[in-house]
């Protein structure tokens, strides 16, 4: 997925002089996850450069650049480090268009690796999507595979609204079913690893059905798509797996259609449970599909604790926990 992200940046930088890429260690070095490798050499230091370690400043200057007319794509080194920038994101990027009567807007993309599974401990593992989905004016996107990563990132860069672009770091180098004991798999053999050359888009606001099924609808995104697939295989539950891809805007039609078909719903995310985005999904499903639901909606999520280092796999909502929820949903 690293290559797909780099490719999206490359395509857009080549096509549009206005696209600039910056962040901590993204310039000469090419980013701690190598997503911007080679871009400085190719496009020059004023199109791809290192930023001082100040996330609030990174977003603040990106807003100014966007207001000027550029299309900044800034990297936050880990999603866990986005909080210092929260004010600039919430009070400024998200509101610029509104408060100025559309005179100014901030077409910025904030890329950030999220999620655990690499023994990163509590400050290299978080999934903070819910603190963005609550903020009107932002779009929040999270790919689960290279094809989507490239297509969604191109959409995000072309979008005139600020986009929070979360990249599940455990997927950077391969899909991950949630079995840490199994050998790591590379993307190569995965059907969604192929990324067409040049520009293509995956539109924001459209979910994808990753697995069709009639028994229960699974709403998930990012790493949890692969975990849910594994759980469905392993339990044999006839699950329909929706990869939401974009949380805001949300593809509520796809969700409702699936839940009305299956009558059951399991929601899976890696972020902590309480007030996570799963709560919003559950609330909407409960409201819109009330009469179709045969069993209670279940949420499987990270526990309401910081992400621990050693007990990472007790924390991670793996296929076993998801599988139990699938079975429970089938039973009632």
């Amino acid at each position: 997925m690293v290559e797909a992200i780099r490719d999206a940046l490359d395509v857009k930088m080549a096509e549009d002089q206005k696209v600039v890429v910056f962040g901590e260690d993204v310039g000469y070095f090419g980013g701690v996850f190598r997503c911007t490798e080679g871009l400085q050499r190719k496009y020059g230091k004023s199109r791809c450069f290192d930023a001082p370690i100040n996330e609030s400043g990174i977003v603040g200057v990106a807003i100014g650049m966007g207001a000027y007319g550029l299309r900044p794509v800034a990297e936050i080194q880990f999603a866990d480090y986005v909080y210092p920038a929260y004010d600039q994101i919430v009070s400024e990027a998200a509101r610029l268009r509104y408060r100025s009567g559309a005179e100014f807007f901030a077409p910025l993309v904030l890329r950030m690796p999220c999620g655990g599974g690499i023994y990163g401990g509590q400050t290299h593992s978080q999934s903070p999507e819910a603190v963005f989905t609550h903020v009107c004016g932002l779009k929040t996107v999270i790919p689960s595979n290279p094809y989507d990563a490239k297509g969604l990132l191109i959409s995000a860069i072309e979008d005139d609204d600020p986009v929070i672009f979360l990249e599940p770091k455990r997927l950077y180098n391969g899909p991950f079913s949630g079995h840490p004991d199994q050998p790591a798999v590379a993307w190569a053999k995965h059907p969604l690893s192929e990324t067409p050359e040049g520009r293509y888009v995956v539109p924001l606001g459209k979910a994808a059905v990753r697995r069709e099924g009639k028994g229960v609808t699974v709403l998930c995104y990012g790493t949890m798509v692969h975990v849910s697939e594994a759980a469905a295989e392993e339990t044999g539950v006839d699950a329909e797996i929706l990869d939401l891809r974009s949380l805001i805007p949300l593809d509520i039609d796809a969700i409702v259609a699936s839940v009305e078909k299956t009558g059951r719903c399991v929601i899976v995310h890696e972020a902590t449970l309480t007030s996570g985005f799963g709560a919003e999904l559950a609330a909407q499903v409960a409201e819109r599909c009330f009469y179709a639901l045969e069993t209670p909606i279940r949420r499987v999520a990270g526990w309401d604790t910081p992400y621990p280092h050693a007990e990472e796999w007790s924390y991670f909502p793996g296929p076993e926990r998801v599988g139990r929820a699938l079975l429970a949903a089938m039973e009632g």
Partner: protein
């Protein structure tokens, strides 16, 4: 060797409180004409002293003196006087309107008119200001229509901001006036980013960032200085030290032990401290900084020393925390009076012409107010439509907002 058996907390306190005798000895002000004027391409390390002195042009007798005195035409200065008078009259009218319930809130800039008005004239078309709520002078000096500003203050049907913003939070892209944020300090790094973008694009436009003494304490102030200095962004970093935040004086922001201008030194940023009540000084120093920025020589931080002569806003009563007569003791005078005196001294102005201009301005403001009021005020007359509340959250209204708009039934 000094030692303290027990530590204790130092909490800065203004030299006087209500009932006390005003004292501004800490301002440390210097006679006009004394501060030197380095070439714009001088190394900032060579004029650090200018952050501790005070650049002044107009002396007490109204003469323009010293190396910062520029050759501004009488016409320009008369225009400057007019801009300041208009700003003051506009403010007075809006405060009155607020008292009359025509809007919820207002912020005037009484006593600080020179800072924004003269600065604006030192910028070029296309430059972008990132102002706070107290820089209405930038808009007025740019010739922006008063009635448009009033429409926003009244949140009426013609409000270009569709009734969404608090009064004084204008936005006017064409006038080089960035949308004002209610959040202190946030616009400072944005200005730096805008300036960086201009540099990236190979443009020749510069940015001008604004912040108050109190808000320099905000962390975004630091973010801005870091980025501005690292990338040598073409930006002017204005700090308006009007001595007060809301009820807390500049000492609570750090002004007890230093001059705010010196905050630039730790970044190698050119840093100047200037008399903000001196139209000529503001213009000259601003022009110097603008020239420096445009020559790709990087940022300049300027502390404008001035005094907030009125309440913080219409919600505030300064009599609660400072002597009511403090303003009268302010050593740098009134910017309008000082420029008027200078023009009269130059033989380019008179009490009669002044009185006449005042009358004209009053009429102009009144006309504008009547015009604006005819389009509604906050609680009276036409307002923006409730449906517009759902617009501009995103470029295209997403489905969930369309649904909510329907629920509201508009």
């Amino acid at each position: 060797m000094p030692s303290a058996a027990r530590l204790s907390l130092h909490v800065p306190e203004p030299s006087v409180r209500p009932g006390g005798k005003p004292d501004f000895s800490h301002v440390g002000f210097a006679p006009a004409g004394e501060a030197r004027r380095p070439p714009v391409d001088a190394d900032p390390a060579e004029f650090r002293d200018l952050a501790y002195s005070l650049i002044r042009v107009l002396d007490d007798a109204g003469a323009a003196v010293g190396p910062w005195a520029e050759a501004l035409s009488a016409a320009d200065l008369r225009q400057g006087l007019r801009d300041m008078m208009l700003t003051r009259a506009y403010d007075a009218r809006m405060v009155l309107s607020q008292r009359q319930g025509k809007t919820s809130f207002y912020v005037q800039c009484l006593g600080e008119e020179a800072v924004a008005c003269a600065h604006r004239k030192a910028l070029a078309p296309g430059d972008m200001c990132f102002p706070t709520y107290r820089q209405q002078g930038l808009l007025i000096a740019a010739g922006w229509p008063l009635v448009d500003m009033m429409n926003s203050v009244f949140s009426n049907e013609k409000d270009r901001l569709k009734g969404r913003q608090l009064p004084t939070m204008y936005s006017a892209r064409e006038a080089g006036f960035f949308t004002v944020s209610g959040n202190l300090g946030t616009q400072y790094p944005q200005a730096v980013g805008w300036a960086m973008a201009s540099a990236i694009a190979g443009d020749d436009k510069i940015a001008s960032a604004w912040i108050g003494d109190g808000a320099t304490a905000e962390s975004d102030f630091h973010a801005a200085l870091v980025f501005a200095s690292v990338y040598r962004a073409p930006v002017i970093l204005n700090v308006v030290n009007n001595q007060w935040a809301i009820s807390s004086y500049q000492g609570i922001a750090g002004g007890e032990s230093v001059k705010f201008a010196s905050r630039g030194h730790g970044f190698g940023i050119a840093s100047l401290r200037a008399d903000g009540n001196d139209y000529l000084a503001v213009h000259a120093v601003s022009a110097w900084a603008a020239q420096r920025a445009r020559a790709n020589l990087g940022p300049t931080l300027i502390e404008w020393v001035t005094y907030r002569a009125a309440a913080h806003s219409t919600s505030d009563d300064p009599g609660k925390y400072r002597p009511r007569d403090e303003g009268a003791a302010w050593p740098l005078g009134d910017p309008l009076e000082r420029l008027k005196l200078h023009l009269i001294k130059r033989g380019e102005w008179s009490e009669e012409r002044h009185a006449q201009m005042r009358a004209e301005i009053d009429a102009e403001v009144l006309d504008a107010a009547r015009d604006a009021e005819s389009h509604g005020t906050l609680h009276d007359g036409p307002t923006p439509s409730p449906a517009s509340m759902f617009e501009d959250v995103y470029k295209d209204m997403p489905r969930h907002l369309r649904e909510q708009r329907q629920q509201l039934g508009v």
